[in-house]
């Protein structure tokens, strides 16, 4: 469960070197998305990136997200990941990938037999295509979406809008 320690670690990592080791990947049940991913980060803009190790553009855009996040202070912006890998294979594949690629963000692994309720819960306008990112303002209100592979610039622009 991502308690204060995870929150602090996630925040500090934003401005830190990408050489910092990734945190252990946590299990996420759909019903816990708001309480564990979004709510604890209110007060900062939040970008949640949905990805999977099987998704090539997801893997390709993560370095750009790391670079973009380093342009912001940890007290202003949080970036977290939610992996949509199969729970069975993701428990080993996801942490191995994050560690190898030195991706420093907090990451959850979705545990759900059927993705549809989770997709609807996160964003009704999302059709499930990956990669996908949603942005929340400091009050935890969903204020932006990024569909498809992004660049460092497009991530930065979206985060700036969430901060404004």
């Amino acid at each position: 469960m991502p308690g204060p320690l995870a929150l602090v670690a996630g925040g500090l990592l934003l401005g830190a070197s990408v050489a910092v080791a990734a945190e252990p990947v946590k299990q996420l049940l759909p019903k816990h998305y708001q309480a564990r991913v979004v709510a604890p980060r209110q007060g900062r803009a939040l970008l949640v990136n949905f990805w999977a190790t099987w998704c090539e553009p997801c893997r390709e855009e993560l370095p750009a997200l790391v670079a973009a996040s380093q342009q912001f202070k940890s007290r202003d912006v949080a970036v977290v990941l939610v992996s949509l890998d199969s729970y069975k294979t993701g428990r080993t594949a996801v942490p191995a990938f994050l560690e190898k690629q030195r991706i420093p963000f907090v990451c959850w692994l979705l545990k759900a037999h059927d993705a549809q309720p989770f997709i609807e819960l996160v964003d009704k306008s999302w059709d499930g295509a990956l990669p996908y990112s949603v942005l929340y303002d400091r009050k935890g209100k969903l204020v932006g979406r990024l569909s498809g592979k992004q660049t460092q610039s497009s991530f930065i622009e979206a985060i700036k809008k969430a901060l404004s």
Binding site: A52, K88, H113, G148, T151
Partner: protein, 195 residues
């Protein structure tokens, strides 16, 4: 300056990708756009010809390199055989700019697809349908109206644990002359690699 221009170009490219991906999906009951595309096996296939000869047409946007889509290969091959025999045409469309026609042909042969697989160069048909990912299914009635849009079922990697066979349910309802029970469904999938 060069760096600044590069940054602008990258931003514009990323911004340009979003409206296409976010284009409004076809509504259930709306007319499905007609198309004619080359089959990777040779010749052209026109939607209107398939509609004229069948009780329904299932258009599935597929990929060769997407593990999520590939998780459904055996089920797509089986569905194709089963429903073609019942008077439903199944057609695969590959709109990925990264997957050339010869690769798509080899993939279809290897997977035992008996339904036609079409190459959508320039992703024109994907744009017409606002198709965004693979696999993504559109089922169309003989009058050209969209009856079902969404997934094949809810699990790409547990074919023996399918609890919500949404495409099969839709096709059975259509063949029975009944309303489709869940006409729109969602699942994860690889985004279509547009040109």
């Amino acid at each position: 300056m060069k760096r600044f221009v590069s940054s602008i170009v990258l931003t514009l490219l990323a911004a340009a990708a979003v409206p296409v991906a976010a284009a409004e999906a076809l509504k259930i009951g709306a007319p499905a756009p007609d198309f004619t595309l080359p089959s990777v096996a040779g010749g052209n296939v026109a939607l209107k010809d398939l509609l004229a000869k069948n009780k329904a047409v299932a258009v599935i946007f597929i990929a060769t390199r997407c593990p999520y889509s590939n998780g459904y290969n055996a089920r797509m091959a089986a569905l194709g055989k089963e429903y073609q025999a019942k008077g439903v045409a199944v057609v695969g469309i590959n709109s990925n700019s990264t997957e050339p026609a010869d690769e798509v042909k080899e993939h279809a042969t290897k997977q035992g697809f008996t339904f036609p697989v079409l190459k959508d160069a320039g992703n024109k048909v994907a744009d017409l349908y606002s198709a965004n990912k693979t696999p993504e299914v559109f089922v169309i009635d003989p009058k050209g109206a969209l009856l079902y849009h969404g997934r094949i079922d809810e699990t790409h990697d547990r074919p023996n644990d399918v609890r919500s066979p949404d495409l099969r349910n839709a096709l059975e309802a259509i063949l029975a002359g009944k309303p489709v029970p869940a006409a729109e469904t969602k699942s994860f999938g690889c985004s279509i690699k547009r040109a």
